[in-house]
């Protein structure tokens, strides 16, 4: 175990607990009494997430300053991840006689977590602040903030979990928050459908992930990440460098979760529809944090995946295909949020491809920089939509540059970052990704057959697709800027647009600054080529020490082998993409309409998102719904109706029996009583003649008889 309590101790664990709990407390207060608080309580979750942000920044600074790639804090001892050991924080969630059944909630904190915590809390805090302006006057204002708070809590819990089981719980919680927030305007049918679609689509991936997770548990007997890695490493070493057979299946199944959550190719369909939610939600959940949970999971499981190069190949191909697939769609869209949504899908493909190509640092680096500039772009689009009185079509915009200068400049800087303009943060992360795709060996050192792992056509596919996707990224992002901010206003909404209040522009400025300087190697030592980015000091690829059977983290970062090839490629693709955008939309050298007409069928396929939604609707949803309806009808007819009819028939029979008893037993008894009375009456009537002399005769006879008896017998 790589404990280092000397530098990371109980205080830090306490801080993690508070980072996790503060948003939960904010949520609890807000959901119950938020409506009665002044300002309807927006300050409660905002203050809570602000507190989390301060604590997370403090942890981040400590972790980064240590320059230790092998930093790892595990609050429950993984080997004795059982009842007794509770140093730090370990909550026994479920205990059983067998140690396999002991599920302990604990924190796992390493450099990935440190970075991720800052990303989540910072973006979340800025989105809270932005929402104060954006959601102003909304009738469910208080509930919106409550849900944001719940989301922050869930996401922080996901990042901190040391255990696959709890990661899954928080994973589903963020899915729930996504559902609630996409469907925030649930009166709109499109929003209600979108949230259902998001939830169900993610479930497909999550179910497969659960199966993979249980497969791992079946073979290792634990859900604890560190212990899973240790066991796989030991088994691989014992096996002569080849991982056990189940690792490939389980690895691919686990990756199905990220396919759903991070919107990779077949299951990406929910993310563009998720733009039905309020724009701050799109920025927080569907750009910067929740959708990268899948990437985070692959990063978290990286020491596992590095044993199974075939699973990594699957991951890389999914990422690369998604990157180019979504980029082609993004070029053709008109809705400003749809462009950004497809851009997000595409960028997530970049990250996944980088991880699949064996570079933990490149993928995760892009995750962080993407969070800054994509959150800024989404919040900027929110600001634009706010200024445009909730019109999202870019064909109605134009010329907003003078009316919304702060929004314009922040979005322009972020666009430069995402397009990969040198010196901006996106340049360095995209450069790292291109370098990773060109050399996919790096991640598998020590595993059997790793030398061959990076060879072949399939392994070289990402290095072809990713640069093309990067070119398209530069093109469609500048297309967005030109259509929205340049030229003449194309509608009266654009003419009347106004700059947003400071609560909305301040987060933009902060995120825009981070988008520019987030990687910032050149500020301190003029390292313009990114040889010595701080990020590479803290997040590095683990290696496998086959002799010892353990996963090794380089304690000191090796010299970064930097070749010129990826730099040149990324310069070329970024430059040509931007040039194309300029020639189409600024200098009007080419006409977009003519180009669209020239490649008519291709354009139509892209514009209609390759008909994936229609395909899913026809092949999956409709048959399922149809079959389900048939089943329901049959169930209704035979089971429900049968039940009702059975109840009716039984009731009738019971009533018949009851009626028979009423008629024959009860009435018979009553009639018998009456009959008896009649008989006795008839008998008694014989003596009641009405003739005085009869009575008197009986009286005299009686007296005589009485006297005679008295006289003769007594």
């Amino acid at each position: 175990m790589r404990f280092d309590w000397g530098t990371f101790g109980d205080t830090e664990v306490q801080m993690m607990i508070w980072i996790l709990l503060l948003p939960l407390i904010g949520f609890t207060i807000q959901i119950f009494v938020g409506n009665k608080l002044p300002r309807r309580g927006d300050w409660v979750p905002t203050a809570a997430i602000g507190g989390s942000l301060v604590l997370a920044l403090s942890l981040f600074v400590r972790a980064i300053k240590m320059h230790k790639p092998d930093l790892l804090v595990h609050t429950a001892h993984p080997e004795g991840a059982s009842v007794a050991d509770t140093n730090g924080l370990a909550i026994n969630w479920l205990t059983s006689a067998s140690p396999d059944g002991n599920f302990v909630f604990a924190f796992l904190f390493d450099n990935i977590t440190a970075v991720m915590l800052v990303v989540v809390t910072l973006v979340s805090f800025l989105v809270h602040v932005f929402s104060i302006g954006y959601m102003h006057g909304d009738k469910r204002y208080n509930r919106f903030f409550a849900h944001l708070g719940l989301f922050s809590f869930s996401m922080i819990g996901l990042v901190l979990s040391a255990n696959f089981l709890f990661l899954l719980i928080f994973w589903e919680l963020v899915g729930l928050c996504s559902y609630l927030l996409i469907g925030y305007y649930f009166e709109k049918e499109s929003a209600a459908n979108a949230c259902k679609k998001a939830f169900l689509t993610c479930r497909v991936g999550d179910t497969l992930m659960l199966i993979g997770m249980l497969l791992i548990w079946k073979h290792t007997g634990t859900f604890d990440f560190v212990e899973i890695f240790d066991q796989v490493a030991k088994a691989t070493a014992a096996n002569g460098g080849a991982p056990p057979d189940w690792c490939l299946t389980a690895g691919i199944l686990v990756f199905c979760g990220p396919i759903g959550k991070s919107a990779q190719f077949p299951l990406h369909i929910w993310l563009p529809d998720a733009m039905e939610g309020p724009t701050p939600v799109s920025a927080l959940i569907h750009a910067a944090t929740m959708v990268v949970a899948g990437v985070f999971l692959v990063a978290r499981m990286f020491p596992y995946y590095m044993f199974v190069p075939d699973a990594m190949l699957v991951i890389a191909l999914f990422g690369a295909v998604t990157a180019i697939f979504a980029a082609t769609i993004g070029i053709t869209q008109w809705d400003i949020k749809k462009v950004l949504a497809y851009s997000t899908v595409s960028q997530l493909g970049f990250m996944v491809a980088a991880l699949g190509c064996g570079s933990l640092s490149a993928g995760f680096f892009h995750l962080m920089t993407h969070a800054w500039f994509k959150a800024c772009l989404f919040l900027g689009s929110g600001s634009v939509i706010h200024g445009m009185h909730h019109h999202q079509d870019m064909r109605q915009m134009g010329g907003l540059r003078h009316k919304m200068p702060v929004t314009y400049w922040c979005m322009l800087l972020s666009t430069c970052a995402i397009a990969g303009v040198p010196l901006f943060s996106g340049f360095y992360s995209k450069d790292a990704i291109i370098a990773a795709t060109l050399d996919p060996h790096a991640g598998f050192q020590g595993v059997a057959g790793w030398e061959q792992a990076g060879e072949g056509f399939l392994w070289s596919l990402p290095s072809l697709l990713i640069p093309i996707a990067a070119l398209m990224t530069a093109f469609y992002m500048f297309r967005l800027i030109f259509l929205t901010f340049h030229g003449e206003p194309k509608s009266e909404h654009a003419e009347q647009a106004h700059e947003s209040p400071w609560t909305m522009t301040l987060p933009l400025v902060v995120l825009g600054t981070l988008g520019v300087f987030g990687a910032a190697p050149w500020i301190l030592d003029f390292d313009f080529m990114g040889h010595d980015i701080w990020f590479n000091h803290v997040v590095t690829n683990p290696t496998f020490d086959a002799a010892a059977g353990v996963i090794a983290y380089p304690a000191v970062v090796p010299e970064h082998h930097h070749s010129w090839l990826p730099v040149i490629i990324s310069l070329i693709v970024a430059g040509s993409g931007i040039l194309l955008a300029f020639s189409f939309y600024k200098w009007k050298r080419f006409s977009p309409e003519k180009a669209a007409k020239k490649w008519g069928s291709l354009y139509r396929w892209c514009f209609n998102k390759y008909y994936v939604d229609e395909f899913v609707l026809k092949v999956v949803v409709r048959p399922l719904v149809f079959t389900w309806n048939v089943w329901c009808a049959a169930f209704d007819k035979f089971v429900i109706d049968g039940l009702v009819n059975g109840v009716g028939r039984t009731g009738k029979q019971l009533a018949d029996g009851s009626g028979w008893a009423d008629k024959n037993i009860v009435d018979g008894f009553v009639n018998a009583m009456a009959f008896m009375t009649q008989i006795f009456g008839a008998i008694a009537r014989i003596f009641q003649t009405g003739f005085l002399q009869h009575y008197l005769t009986v009286l005299a006879g009686g007296a005589a008889a009485g006297t005679a008896i008295f006289y003769f017998f007594l």
């Binding site: 009405g690 003739f691 005085l692 002399q693 008197l696 005769t697 005299a700 006879g701 005589a704 005679a708």
Partner: protein
């Protein structure tokens, strides 16, 4: 029934004739002679009441029964003591008065019945019968 009663009374009377006790007031007639007389009167009255279909005759029968009782009283009184004779005589007198009053009322009822129903048979007025 009247026959049976008569036979029984005759037997009682025959038994009484053997029992001869002297009267306290010196009457030469023994007590049981009075008693037999009283029984005869009573039985005649009862027979009339039970057998006749005329209210007037029934009233006459009732008078006979009352007189039988009255005779009984006085006979017992005379064989008991002088004081008792006085008392029983008074009771006898009361009975006569009572019988007179009763006969008056009964005759009035009979007259009214006759006026209403034009009959003096006791079974004919049956308005209260169902």
């Amino acid at each position: 029934m009247i026959g049976c009663s008569t036979v029984a009374l005759l037997e009682v009377a025959a038994a009484a004739l053997h029992n001869t006790a002297p009267s306290e007031v010196g009457s030469p007639i023994p007590l049981h002679w009075y008693l037999v007389m009283s029984i005869v009167l009573f039985v005649f009255g009862l027979a009339i009441v039970l057998s006749r279909r005329n209210l007037i005759y029934i009233l006459i029968g009732i008078e006979l029964i009352l007189n039988a009782g009255s005779l009984n009283f006085v006979a017992f009184g005379s064989y008991r003591s002088r004081e008792a004779l006085v008392d029983t005589t008074i009771v006898g007198t009361f009975i006569i008065v009572l019988a007179a009053a009763e006969a008056t009322i009964a005759l009035a009822i009979v007259l009214n019945v006759f006026g209403l129903f034009n009959t003096v048979r006791p079974e004919d007025p049956n308005l209260l019968r169902e």
